[in-house]
């Protein structure tokens, strides 16, 4: 790639005025031409795609081109779109989705210029917009349905809401794989463990995986629709249940977005308590994952110890905040309830107990060649792929992408805080385990510092009355990567529209790359080292 024109997007946006109230970053309504130019810049690597989602009559895209702040650009969908000649969609459009019936040509289905055509990370997001809103990405490279398995009885449930006949869910065209001696292994949606549902279609040559193609959407619960015109309290409870393992990070992002839209900031004490909860969640999940990865390599000892550590963390979280996963504890304005009187002591005691024992386990991981034989060089993801997909969390940082929303989009209480962000270049299962080990240590230090100097004061501030629609956006660093929440509050101060983008959106596609040329038996290991969310992705 030649020198990247990072000024390009800024130059394009300079022609447009930012919309009314959108905080803390700006949003621009652009035309189809500018949208396409931005999509091309994304494809050239000029910016990271942070999200792409539908709205009534429009499509929004969040992007970030450092050193500039992130921004949102929006384009109105139009029934007719002057589209340049592009590659033919693959596979041919489904009935009722372009070619047949309600074609994109003028029967009311809105079209927008495809981003995925230039920037592949956008493809699944565009398929989702088409499923949910019926907006057709013009000249999109892949027009298959994604979340819509033909079971809702509805086309475009957030758009035209037209009745649709049930389709056979197995009627899905997987990408063709050609070659000698290939066979397919279909796995899921129900998997052989206590995990979420999704379908994996392996094409293997003997034991070696030639291609993995994922099919997700099984746990789609219609969150975008439920959040539309929802009360603030109801919306907060739904967002907290988008992905149970990231409930704190999701509530955190939702609350920050609401506060941004209202132009307020949570009190200092609340910000610190939010940080404590977010880091406890990170520690608990990382402990679970470190153990589970080792368990998938048949090394049960580490799994057993990590299980005990995790239990200690959850019990301390329960003692301090009244819920093991700390669900519904972070709310717009602060935290729902202050930390219990002896909560800080309970957390510190748990961490002091775990810290030295965790080091023994980390040393055991280091000193066991038979274990590293399984994790090293397994499930490799190239650095340029991670960069292109703007993959966050351990997936990004294990392949050299130096990004952490806590540091790079610093929000309270991380603003002004100095902490090390682990970075590895090997991009394998081992690197993803090591990122987690380092982060457990860093999070323990952060929590200890915060709890020792916990400021006094209120933990919740009342929300002001506002007039007119106001929009807010926030990104927080969940244990698996950055989550984005964008919302619009109506004149009544309630949520008019809200969209949540989990880190998994930009990690799932890389899992397909990670397993290539590995043996089928290493898939659980690779999958666990990613630990993408199904529910957070399917929404």
């Amino acid at each position: 790639m030649t020198a990247v024109d990072t000024a390009g997007i800024a130059t394009i946006l300079a022609c447009f005025a930012p919309v009314g109230f959108h905080a803390p970053w700006q949003r621009f309504d652009v035309d189809a031409e500018a949208w396409t130019a931005i999509a091309k810049s994304l494809g050239d690597g000029a910016a990271d795609l942070l999200g792409l989602w539908g709205d009534v009559g429009a499509v929004h895209m969040a992007l970030r081109a450092p050193p500039a702040d992130p921004c949102v650009v929006s384009v109105a969908v139009t029934p007719t779109l002057p589209s340049p000649a592009g590659p033919l969609p693959f596979p041919p459009p489904l009935a009722g989705e372009g070619g047949v019936g309600a074609s994109g040509g003028g029967t009311g289905r809105g079209r927008f210029p495809s981003v995925g055509r230039f920037h592949p990370p956008a493809i699944r997001l565009e398929r989702t917009i088409c499923d949910l809103y019926g907006h057709v990405p013009a000249d999109a490279p892949d027009r298959r349905a994604w979340l819509d398995h033909g079971q809702w009885g509805l086309h475009a449930p957030l758009g035209a809401e037209t009745p649709a006949p049930h389709r056979d869910p197995t009627d899905y065209e997987f990408l063709a794989v050609h070659g000698h001696g290939l066979h397919q292994i279909p796995v899921g949606p129900v998997h052989a463990g206590i995990i979420e549902p999704g379908h994996f279609r392996f094409t293997a040559n003997g034991e070696t995986v030639a291609r993995l193609e994922e099919r997700l959407g099984y746990v789609h619960k219609g969150v975008d629709a439920l959040l539309t015109d929802a009360g603030l309290a109801k919306a907060a409870r739904i967002v907290a249940r988008i992905s149970g393992d990231s409930t704190v990070a999701l509530s955190f992002a939702f609350s920050l977005a609401v506060e941004a839209a209202l132009g307020i900031e949570a009190p200092r004490r609340a910000a610190i308590l939010r940080g404590v909860m977010a880091e406890l969640e990170r520690i608990a999940n990382h402990l679970g994952d470190i153990g589970a990865v080792c368990n998938d390599a048949a090394f049960a000892l580490i799994h057993a110890h990590c299980g005990i550590f995790r239990e200690r963390v959850l019990a301390a979280s329960d003692a301090a905040f009244g819920h093991r996963l700390m669900m519904d504890r972070i709310v717009p304005g602060g935290v729902a309830q202050d930390i219990a009187a002896d909560g800080g002591a309970a957390i510190l005691a748990a961490l002091d107990d775990i810290a030295p024992r965790f080091e023994e386990i980390a040393a055991l991981y280091d000193d066991t060649p038979s274990l590293q034989d399984r994790t090293c060089a397994t499930g490799y993801v190239a650095g340029d792929l991670v960069k292109r997909w703007a993959a966050g969390g351990h997936v990004g940082r294990a392949s050299g992408r130096n990004f952490d929303a806590r540091r790079d989009l610093a929000y309270p209480p991380y603003r002004g805080l100095s902490f090390a962000v682990p970075l590895y270049a090997t991009g394998d299962v081992d690197a993803r385990v090591r990122v987690r080990i380092d982060e457990v240590r860093a999070s323990m230090r952060m929590i200890k510092d915060w709890l020792v100097h916990l400021p006094s004061g209120p933990a919740l501030t009342p929300l002001p009355q506002v007039s007119g629609p106001r929009e807010g956006i926030a990104i927080t660093e969940a244990f698996r990567g950055d989550v984005l929440v964008w919302l619009r509050l109506g004149a009544d101060g309630q949520v008019a529209r809200c969209h949540v983008r989990d880190a998994s959106w930009f990690q799932w596609p890389l899992l397909e790359a990670a397993i290539e040329n590995n043996i089928v038996a290493d898939f659980p290991l690779c999958n666990k080292s990613f630990n993408c969310s199904y529910s957070g992705h399917d929404l």
């Binding site: 979340l147 398995h149 079971q151 809702w152 009885g153 509805l154 449930p157 869910p169 949606p189 129900v190 052989a192 463990g193 206590i194 995990i195 979420e196 549902p197 959407g217 099984y218 746990v219 789609h220 619960k221 219609g222 969150v223 629709a225 439920l226 109801k234 409870r237 739904i238 249940r241 988008i242 992905s243 149970g244 393992d245 409930t247 679970g288 000892l301 057993a304 299980g307 005990i308 995790r310 239990e311 959850l314 093991r324 996963l325 669900m327 023994e360 055991l364 000193d367 066991t368 969310s533 199904y534 529910s535």
Partner: protein, 174 residues
């Protein structure tokens, strides 16, 4: 590793004491379980967990049942990878339209006699996802449910108490 193993050998167990069977669960099961199937199981049941639409919160706590603190296997309960090996389907919800067929197939693949336990506020009701075009709702809208374990998510200890009630009832001498 040797020092670690040696240390663990002499350390006190971390496993919690056995909780009592949940009274409400016993009552519900008393109605649900006929003499059918009793005596077939020597105080042992195999569980297949199925996520039919959950946010994964319930799965995290179900996972915890396998750790050394709750150690579910000491009560004769263990998780199996296939519904073909299962006596109990532990189902979390809300059941989504996209998961309905898979859930029905897993149930059909489970040999009789079998029990279905609905887990979590979403599996027992519909939770916060009530009213969505994409969800069917509670597990009992799709399968006959023998036991409900509520909570968002239920704590491992609550799961354990419900499941112990199930193993007590299912394996009691008729």
């Amino acid at each position: 590793m040797r020092t670690l193993l040696l240390k663990s050998l002499f350390a006190a167990p971390v496993t919690i004491g056995a909780p009592n069977a949940d009274d409400a669960a016993l009552k519900e099961l008393g109605r649900a379980l006929a003499a059918r199937g009793r005596r077939l199981f020597g105080r042992s049941l195999t569980i297949r967990e199925i996520d039919a639409g959950s946010c994964n919160g319930c799965e995290l706590e179900i996972h915890a049942l396998n750790n050394s603190v709750y150690d579910i296997e000491r009560f004769g309960l263990k998780f199996a990878a296939s519904p073909r090996h299962a006596d109990v389907l532990l189902v979390t919800g809300p059941v989504t339209h996209n998961m309905k067929i898979a859930l029905e197939r897993a149930y059909a693949a489970t040999p009789d006699p079998k029990w279905v336990v609905a887990v979590g506020d979403c599996g027992c009701g519909c939770g916060v996802f009530e009213g969505s075009y994409a969800v069917i709702g509670a597990v009992d809208k799709v399968l006959p449910v023998d036991l409900h374990i509520r909570g968002c998510p239920p704590r491992p200890i609550d799961l354990l108490r419900g499941l112990i009630a199930l193993v007590d009832q299912a394996t009691a001498k008729a």
